[in-house]
Amino acid sequence: MTDKMRTDLNVFGRYMTLSVKNLRRRPVRTGLTVAGVALAVTVAVSLGGFMLGYRGAIDKSINMLGFQVMIMAKGCPYEAATMMLKGGTGLLYLPADTYDKVKSDPEIETITPIFIGVAQKQGSSIRDDGGGSNFSIISGIDVASYRVMKPWIVFKTGAGYQGGRWFRAGSQDEVVMGFEAAEYEQRKVGDAFYASITPAGKPDPVMHQFKVVGVLDRTGTQDDGTVFLPIDVAREYFGRPDQLTILGVKLKQFNAFKMREFETRWLKLPEVQVVGLQQVKNTLVSLVGTAQTMIAAVAAIAVIVALIGVINTILMSVYERTSEIGIMKALGARRGDIFQLIWLETVMICLTGGIAGSVAAIVGSGLVERAIKAIADLGVSGSVVDITPAVIGYAVLGAVTLGFFGGLYPAWRASSMRPVEAIGRGA
């Protein structure tokens, strides 16, 4: 480092010190201005984290389905997809022989039939839900093809969960529970699980007793909240022995062209629709996009208000220090020196606000997530707010940029003062 550089660093350090000390002269005013910037940054970081986290959650949820294409009964494909991702009611069914027809398609790598039904947990739960969810999502699966589709699924281990396994062939009374379903019901391997199922076309529900033979480890997907039965048993209990809810398909080659070909081949079946999960993903993102735009508008307003607050604070500070600025000019300060000093103060306010706002956003992310989920059904499970270092970096950079531009006018005003007038005005 040259002597000139050391001198420049020393001088810049003193400018920084002077700026900080100037800001500390009015701690309440500075604090409120920093708080305004911090609030705007908190909103912006939370929004950025939500945008990122929601896309990530959709990606994860869809990728963890294991298949790229769903064949399902005609209806709203997105409702069906949401149901697949998160669980729900209003199910439509397609004929079971669709599976036999489609599975012979040469482009299919893996196919798995899924039957979904909703059972009442009446009398089974040790919890008093008090108006909470009294329904269980029952998923009837073909274990062999389901495991091929989702190779990451493993059984939970540890005390009470040893010996977890899938149901035996032909078993009528064995269930495997997803991680959250078991946690919620406080069930372990060997425990009983009761479900009240109303068969199709019958007025009264039938109570079934099952034995929990395995609890799945957490996957972070809809599987965590599901209770699994053998597909034939599920169809029988729900009174739909010849029906399916979904065929999950994984193609050997998945791209827009192959997807289109596959879709064209199977749309010929009556009452069947073919839905690509990429399509579902895009639609879910665009549905929430409107809400995100509104939140972004609020964030933009917060940023503008914060910017006005910053400019106002620095202008007041400049006005109060008119005489002082004149004296600094008399002591040898050039216009650029005064500009630098005032501009540094503005940037520091915004930098501090940016850091404080980012910290607040990180600390409050859990709260924001709960609030978002309470307000809107986002159709995905798992975390939807993901505040990454990049989001923080952009937010702090944005705040500094705000200070960069916000400081221009007050700094220009201060640096333009004529010393003799400035000294006289303060006297």
């Binding site: 002077l18 040898g332 216009r335 020196d337």
Partner: protein, 233 residues
């Protein structure tokens, strides 16, 4: 004859106040030489501050010639006047004008920051010793008396090695004893460091301790005394 650091010839400074022209300074000739103390006396509104603002390049004359170090500063832009002031002029104000959040040392070192120079602790210590404030180096202005604050302001003016110290009513906010001690300090600086000192004052007894006392009235010099005889010039 000693070198004139600042020379003004026929200096006029007129202001417009509505339709009226105010002649704050109306044709003044003055020269400040190295090592001399020049006081400017006169009642309020006589043009004292206007004169030192012109001589210290803080303001530009309406008419007249101003030479600093032998060079004319007529027509220079404000940024060019800053360059003329830097390193030549040191300022002391009636209100002390210290930055309240900076310590004595930081206040003294402030002009170096604007000059882009590194601080020199030893030099700062020496200057504080010169003004009698070695034991107040880390105090804040609010912890000092009026006289001590004015000494800090003088130390601040000295840190950049000026050739002339311009002091506008430096004793105006001080009691007589403290004011006298400031005048004594000026005299010592002029003798020991060859510093020229230009000061304004309302107090004739302080004014007549200078080598030369100029009395202004209505923007004109009405009297110029050499209180200690002709050896001052």
């Amino acid at each position: 004859m000693r070198e004139a650091i600042i020379e003004g010839h026929g200096l006029k400074r007129y202001y417009r106040r509505g339709s009226e022209i105010v002649k704050a300074l109306d044709g003044v000739d003055v020269a400040i030489h190295a090592g001399e103390i020049v006081s400017v006396l006169g009642p309020s509104g006589s043009g004292k501050t206007t004169l030192i603002n012109l001589l210290s390049c803080l303001d530009a004359p309406t008419e007249g010639t101003l030479l600093v170090g032998g060079k004319s500063v007529a027509g220079l832009a404000e940024e060019e006047l800053v360059e003329v002031r830097r390193g030549v002029l040191g300022f002391v104000f009636q209100q002390f004008a210290l930055l309240p959040t900076l310590t004595v040392t930081e206040n003294v070192d402030l002009p170096l920051m604007f000059l882009g120079r590194r601080t020199n602790q030893q030099k700062t210590r020496e200057i504080l010793q010169t003004v009698g404030l070695s034991d107040r180096a880390n105090h804040l202005p609010r912890e000092l008396s009026g006289g001590q604050m004015q000494r800090v302001a003088i130390a601040r003016a000295l840190i950049a090695d000026p050739r002339i110290l311009v002091a506008d009513e430096p004793t105006g906010n001080l009691d007589t004893t403290t004011g006298q001690s400031i005048i004594e300090l000026f005299k010592r600086l002029a003798v020991e460091q060859g510093l020229a000192i230009l000061l304004t004052t309302h107090n004739p007894s302080f004014g007549y301790e200078a080598d030369r006392a100029i009395t202004l009235q209505d923007g004109k010099i009405v009297k110029e005394d050499l209180p200690h005889g002709a050896n001052s010039n």
